[in-house]
Amino acid sequence: MTERLQVAEFRNEYDLIDAVSAVRESGVEIVDAYTPFAVHGLDKAMGLKKSRLNQVCFMFAFLGLTIGVLGQYWVSAINWPINIGGRPWNSLPAFMPVAFEVTVLFAGLGTVFSFFAWRKLKYGKQSLQPSLRATNDRFYLVMKQGQQRKSNSTVSEIIHVHHGEMVDA
């Protein structure tokens, strides 16, 4: 059975944030909010956890550094050592610039692609949103429909107090 959802529309971000806090206090679960820009403070109001992408980024950076250093060492000292101006096979200080660049490349691409994969963003995907105005100038709050009729009317009251409007999803 698909869950029934209810959607409210807001005209600015302050009303949305206030409504989110009030709705959560009343015990109704919030599915998501749809906003035209990254509203600051909404993550706290919605109780979103800190992203794990920071750790992902670090892991990719570490992987890049390892590949950068060991790769250059293997190429220059093991696979085909060439005497260039009498420099040591393992010229570690001279390997640092490339190792750094490879680190940044891995960390950047790894983070972005993990984000795309996690959030299922891909080329040509159809977007599902409450309204086309969600990417333009309106803010939407999507909540779970409560079990009893009574709680639903409280939700619409809360929404109205915060200058929002209930819309059909």
């Binding site: 998501d32 035209p36 820009f37 509203v39």
Partner: protein, 453 residues
């Protein structure tokens, strides 16, 4: 109201969210003006000249250049360093100013990032044609091959350059694209014709404004900014290593990395100013790119111009202080030798120009700022020319001394690189949202005016 209420608004004209979407998308949706067509045809003509020059020199060989046994690097490498430097301001605006929470960056960061990418593309062309046999350009990458396998020499700064520029181009492009995804969705959702809907539908990755995604997106954006910041410093540092690790007097100096990075930001901001002043005038963006934006950028030019001035002085001081005759000769030759005209153009443009920006009336005079920004561009091109050519043309053996003058092929290639840059930029402002709508919308209420919707 909060403590931001005393600050001037970031965006003028009392805009609301709908206005921002309409204003920014309108640039792409309305018919191009005659000014755009004029600019585009000029840029395209320059690009064609560049294509002719490059094709001719590839078919004939780099003997078509004015290089000789003594001056082995000149126009080509000058252009390379110049264009890489231009790119740096874009990353500075998009990444470093982001980390410092400089909200004014929001209306210029998108086009500055685009400028970075196009400048790095222009820069990348020069080492490739400098190889003489550009069809073998892939040899600079380490890949398993049947020649041994023979790998590249990782101890060479030229190999570092490949990685630095390659990473820089990749990360800048990713940063630019990731920053644009929400705006591409905005364009998709208001597109009227099917082709546009389809095209932006593909590019916007199914973005729907979900705040759960926005929240992660902010993390990704901050991480990319954090990665791009040391990256941008490393890129021009590595470019300066091309010179600094050699034993040529005038090149062999430890001040080169900070000197080059400051010079890059200096020239880059001048180019951003040049482009933004043209854009705000021709696209009527005065309410988005305000006088405050221009003033802030001129302040960055004062600081970086100061560092560049200090570097020039340090070089001369160290040349004298080192007691090294060759070093002293190179610097006297720079200021008084046959290329003294280039040196004094450099000094005039890079030392004197920024001093005008101490005056508030000049900082807020768009016409004067525009003219001065072009002087900085010229001065910074000459800086690279002076560093490269004057250090080479009178080497250790007086019988080998020679002069350098560019041929039509080299000048045509330089003009062509400007053509490529402006062609790409003009196409960009017609096809992509050139102002970051998502970020501008987030600073609209920056005064703390919560009632405005």
């Amino acid at each position: 109201m909060d403590n931001h209420s005393t600050r001037p608004p970031q965006i003028h004209g009392d805009k609301n969210l709908t206005d921002v979407t309409n204003d920014v998308c309108d640039i792409m949706e309305r018919k191009p003006t005659w000014l755009w067509w004029l600019g585009f045809s000029l840029a395209l003509s320059a690009l064609v000249l560049g294509l002719v020059s490059v094709s001719y020199q590839i078919m004939t060989g780099i003997g078509t250049w004015g290089l000789n046994k003594t001056v082995g690097w000149a126009f080509d490498i000058t252009n390379f360093v110049f264009w890489v430097g231009i790119g740096h301001a874009g990353t500075l605006i998009s990444a470093i100013l982001f980390l410092f929470r400089q909200k004014w960056r929001t209306s210029i960061n998108r086009s500055a990032e685009a400028m970075t990418i196009f400048a790095v593309i222009c820069a990348g062309i020069f080492p490739i044609i400098h190889m003489g046999r550009p069809w073998l350009a892939y040899w600079v990458f380490p890949y398993p091959n049947f020649r041994g396998p023979l790998w590249i020499n990782f101890r060479s700064p030229l190999a570092w350059d490949v990685f630095a520029i390659g990473t820089y181009l990749t990360i800048s492009a990713v940063f630019w694209y990731v920053g644009m995804v929400p705006d591409l969705a905005t364009v998709r959702d208001r597109a009227k014709n099917k082709i546009k809907k389809f095209f932006f539908g593909i590019l916007s990755l199914g973005w729907n404004g979900s705040y759960r995604v926005w929240h992660r997106y902010e993390t990704v954006y901050a991480l990319l900014a954090g990665l791009a910041t040391p990256l941008v410093v490393s890129v021009h540092t590595v470019v300066s290593f091309d010179f600094a690790t050699s034993s040529i007097p005038g090149w062999h100096t430890t001040t080169f990395p900070p000197y080059f990075v400051a010079g890059a930001v200096f020239s880059g901001f001048a180019m951003v100013l040049t482009l933004m002043i043209i854009a705000r005038k021709t696209l009527r963006l005065e309410e988005y790119i305000t006088l405050n934006h221009i003033e802030n950028m001129t302040k960055v030019i004062i600081v970086t111009g100061g560092i560049v001035t200090l570097s020039y002085a340090t070089e001369f001081f160290i040349a004298w202080y080192s007691g090294n005759g060759f070093e002293q000769f190179v610097f006297l030759n720079r200021a008084l030798g046959p290329f003294a005209w280039a040196y004094w153009i450099m000094v005039g443009c890079n030392l004197i120009t920024p001093q005008f920006f101490w005056f508030r009336s000049i900082r807020r005079n768009v016409v004067i700022v525009f003219i001065l920004s072009i002087f900085v561009n010229i001065g910074m091109w000459f800086e690279r020319f002076v560093i490269i050519v004057t250090s080479l043309h009178r080497d250790f053996l007086p019988s080998a001394w020679s002069m350098y003058s560019p041929t039509w092929v080299e000048i045509g290639t330089l003009v062509g690189s400007f053509g490529l840059f402006f062609t790409l930029f003009l196409l960009f402002i017609r096809t992509m949202p050139m102002i970051s709508m998502g970020e501008v919308k987030s600073v609209l209420h920056y005064r703390g005016n919560g009632e405005k919707s």
